[in-house]
Symmetry: C2
Subunit: 649 residues, 2 copies
């Protein structure tokens, strides 16, 4: 189920992130020469869930899925388009933002996921501008409130009609007790660079700001009288088009529908398999407890090390006021053994500190794992850029990126019980590298550039996915070049040393290429390897020097490219125990932990949106003032006033 | 009441942030030459609240208040000290971190405030190193778990005894389902620059990491056998002392106890008055509703502008499917008038968009305001640095900073109903500037440097205070130089134009000085004026050019230094309506809003701690997996396992 509290419309059981322009319900995309018009004209009845109507160009996730699709299609299907005019098809309203009834009835998980996707879509609009020269001009013909103004903020240029009434506003705080959470606060301060006290006034003024003050305060770029609007829009479109390097004569490729075969256990794409299974072995997943609850593994009474320190401190009841240091334990667990053998330097590669410590039976009754296996190319790259265009959506790097993106979005929105995503691959690493070289060689070609850009966005989406990410680098895999990024995007990676007993697959290898050193920046602006090697730039230099080499497990571990290299003997147990343990931890704790550990180093506007802004909004989405029975979101539109706890925290 | 759920120990009614070394219960501070030893030896019974014991050097806010005090005293009272040895007085345990029983029983507000203060204290340890050359070496003689290791992370150098058992760990996630929230995650990634996958292993391994691996993974700087520990510590202390520029021959000043007179309505310090009052007029604060709840102002049924757009979209019940634009309203409110007159350019300075729109009666039944009036110096600066030392804690800039700091901490921890802090000042601006010039002239003197550093930290604390901050610049005030920073730290500032009718006080002025352009960086690394003028550096240049001038209200508004300049006629109503409205908004929404708007521009490790890390921790502190009846914090130490909702959000 996509959402615990609402039913999807039309009897659907999953949220589908694929869209088809011929079936758009909310947007009208028209292309004329180098200018496209993207007209928002939301169908009130075309809701994703039951129970609300999308009045006044308000939106739900379904509306945004179409928007994201339209932007992608402009990049791939219409490479000659240089300017998008983002307009409303409704009179006197541009967009009223996220639908409040939808938000009021949505589960916490859906709210959080909804905000994440809408943020990614708006970042995508900005990326189209920065990376592709596809500029967006937003024409506001009425009220742009809340998410409506946040959508405008993603544009390169905001035009506001000067009719004495049309205004931009962020009324979320005064009206709904939540934040403008789709990048609004961050873009007001960091993109539009509105003075902080003016931003404070703006964000607490329901009615918003219009006319000359909206320009003076940097909220919009210009105001235009109604009588001169079309002329002014055409002029701006020409100006922006003149700055774009998009190819005037290029012919686009069709983003054909993905082929997906779904079963109870997963989904099969052309180049990606998704397998879903319980995180714990069936025999362990006993039915002792309620379906949605599992026990944490760590309150055993045997008093080990850190636990002992904390536990005896906490309980004050056990008569155990001295720390029992790890080596005073007498159960001889391999956790101790691993630490001890490490200390004495006996083992070159790691053995998990927890090997042999199986979580208790029944600890993962509901949590699941999603294993994504990515398949390498079946054939060598095409002979020329023209041949690549000919292959279109079947061109392997593009096909894989689209399928991977869909698989991740599907898990995010529909599989809340998936605790961890495990990345595997199969294929010939040399072929993967050949495709990377092909794209390098054709990097000035618009389609090669768009494909690299698409991979950049898919990888960022993975970075931002609130599931534990694990890469298993096994015999027969092809984690090379672009695919190696999945290893570096993972929270942990394991690589098998040598061949498996009785298996003829070639030993696991890892290979770096040029593409790993800048083509795919994370939201912090650094490559994944630069983020990985923040401590010592010479680690990055060493990795660069190894580019092109076929690295076996021990070489990869030595270079710091994988977390652990393991023998076949240890492999199954180590991975099983790790994944079971992971699935037994608090889901929320992991989300917070990973959101902190994944983004070392600098912050950008984009990373600020997903950290500072999103984390605060998630907090507010838990607070009674917003979501309680008497909170502003619940009471909005009922005629009843919300009741607030006024205590500041 | 400091905390809703727990009672303070010893019959106290407030948390007191002042400490006296002669009465420390948890720390032993000894100074020998240029090395001080700060020994953590927590008194189990010396708790701040009732209901738990501080076993194994675990801590509560009371322990941290003494620690913060000790660091400040080393800076002011012992200027010759160059190295702090941070050690444990307990055998085989360094520190078990924040006390879990305390956390489990604390209100959300106290948990959040506790984390904020402990973070500030650890930042203070790092600031002592960076700004003052007072280095900290942490000597870990046993278990440093959770907050214990986070304390170590604040040090310049971490030594771990190599006895086969002593380890560092961050077991919060596996044991308690919360984050290491006192900077741990951020310092692991951004200060120690631990590789992200190793950080993942470390933060999910209860037992922690010890020995050589702790060094290899950059978690500690060295491991030392027990037999060589003292020798190694002495050697490191000599090395760090050699790098310090602290003055060997200087004599410190005594940080004498503050004088405070508390009444029902506030507290009087020597240079600061704190006045507490209801946010709404008494006649409006009717007793219609429960004490802790107020109504939000914004669900009136008259359907204005942004509200109309959102409301009719949300309700779908009102038969109002068209936006009613602001100018179609017929009530002629001054909000419209203000916007309209602004649009036509008739008015040079701002009139709030909400003037005349009074919140409903009863909307602020409990919310309060704290007005802090800062008094300027009574006399000219001393004649020399020696005379400044002679004045010691009575030297006006230091006295004011200490009193202001205490006032802010007191409000944060004890006055949760205070919605807004209003800064006022009274005195001679020329004298304030004279003190700034005196400190500039003596900036190489250790005490001048420490006083500037103290102001920097107080101002940062204000930036991080979760209350709306308002500066009122009125006749007779002295917001000049250092004191002008309070205007720039505020979410909004109002300045009165000219004299008040029947009042002989000189018109309000604002004056900038060198000190406003770099001496007091915010946690984002920029001065408050640079943060203010992100959009256009020439605004900052214009402000610099005006340094030293006496700016009246209209000049200050023209330079962008205040939000609004108002006539005497508008002043009372504008301020009253603004403050009442502010107090009627959702407290949580404001906290999130202000945390986003105050910190435009770059992020630093420090700002990441208070944004990314803290916001995620606050979220987790609301989630049932941690704080629910079956959550890990509640169940810890009870022998019952926590029950987790495994769904990932």
């Amino acid at each position: 189920m996509a959402d615990a509290e609402r039913k999807l419309n039309n009897g659907k059981s999953r949220i589908d992130f694929q869209a088809d322009p011929s079936k758009y319900r909310h947007w009208k995309l028209t292309v004329g020469g180098d200018v496209a018009t993207l007209l928002m004209d939301v169908d009130e009845k075309g809701t994703l869930f039951e129970g609300y109507e999308l009045k006044l160009n308000s939106y739900d996730l379904g509306v945004d899925i179409e928007l994201a699709d339209a932007i992608e299609r402009l990049r791939f299907e219409h490479p000659q388009v240089k300017v998008i005019l983002l307009r409303s098809g409704k009179p006197r309203v541009f967009c009223a933002g996220a639908n409040i009834r939808m938000l009021a009835g949505a589960s916490h998980a859906h709210k959080v996921n909804f905000c994440k996707f809408t943020n990614e879509t708006r970042n995508g609009i900005e990326d189209a501008s920065e990376a592709s020269g596809l500029f967006t001009i937003c024409v506001i013909n009425g009220t742009a409130a809340g998410g409506g103004y946040e959508l405008a903020l993603a544009a390169d240029h905001i035009m506001l009609i000067d009719d004495g009434s049309s205004a931009v506003s962020l009324p979320e705080l005064p009206l709904l007790a939540v934040l403008p959470g789709t990048g609004g606060l961050t873009r007001v301060t960091d993109k539009r660079k509105v003075r902080r006290d003016r931003a404070d006034v703006f964000c607490t003024t329901e009615e918003g700001i219009k006319g000359k003050r909206a320009v003076d305060w940097r909220l919009v770029d210009e105001v235009v009288p109604a009588s001169k609007l079309e002329e002014a829009v055409a002029k701006r479109a020409r100006e922006f088009a003149a700055k774009s390097q998009r190819p005037a004569a290029a012919k686009g490729i069709a983003l054909k529908p993905l082929t997906r075969e779904r079963s109870a256990d997963g989904v099969e794409y052309g180049t990606v398999s998704v397998e879903l299974r319980a995180a714990a072995l069936a025999s362990e997943a006993s039915g002792q407890r309620g379906q949605s609850q599992v026990r944490a593994p760590d309150t055993r009474e045997d008093g080990s090390s850190a636990r002992a320190a904390l536990a005896s401190e906490a309980s004050g009841q056990r008569g155990q006021s001295q720390v029992r240091a790890p080596d005073t334990r007498e159960d001889g667990s391999s956790a101790r053994a691993a630490l001890a053998s490490e200390a004495s330097g006996q083992r070159g590669h790691f053995k998990s500190a927890r090997a042999g410590h199986s979580p208790e039976p029944g600890s993962s009754a509901r949590a699941r794992l999603a294993t994504l296996t990515l398949r390498g190319p079946q054939a060598a790259p095409p002979a020329s850029a023209e041949a690549m265009v000919e292959q279109g959506a079947e061109f392997w790097p593009l096909k894989l990126a689209r399928e991977l993106d869909d698989a991740i979005l599907d898990i995010r929105a529909n599989e809340f019980d998936v605790a961890a995503i495990v990345f595997k691959s199969s294929g010939d690493p040399a072929q993967v590298l050949a495709y990377d070289q092909f794209l390098d060689a054709n990097k000035e070609h618009w389609l090669a550039r768009e494909i690299r850009g698409f991979w950049k966005r898919v990888l960022k989406r993975i970075d931002l996915t609130s599931r534990s990410l694990v890469a298993l680098v096994e015999p027969g895999s092809c984690f090379a070049g672009t695919l190696a990024e999945l290893v570096f995007a993972s929270d942990r990676s394991y690589m098998l040393i040598g061949k498996r007993d009785g298996d003829n697959k070639p030993p696991a290898t890892l290979a770096l290429a040029t593409v790993n050193f800048g083509a795919y920046p994370m939201s912090n602006g650094l490559s994944r390897l630069a983020s990985r090697f923040l401590a010592d730039p010479t680690d990055l230099d060493r990795a660069k020097a190894a580019a092109g080499e076929t690295l076996d497990a021990e070489a990869a571990e030595r270079l710091g490219l994988v977390t652990f290299a393991l023998d076949d003997i240890d492999w199954e147990d180590e991975i099983r125990v790790f994944l079971e343990e992971r699935a037994s931890f608090s889901a929320d704790g992991l989300t917070g932990l990973e959101a902190n550990l994944r983004f070392g180093g600098p912050e950008t506007m984009e990373s600020k949106i997903f950290a500072r802004l999103t984390a605060w909004q998630n907090w507010i989405f838990q607070r009674p003032n917003a979501v309680g029975e008497e909170g502003a979101l619940k009471r909005y539109g009922t005629g009843q006033k919300p009741a607030f706890d006024t205590r500041r925290v």
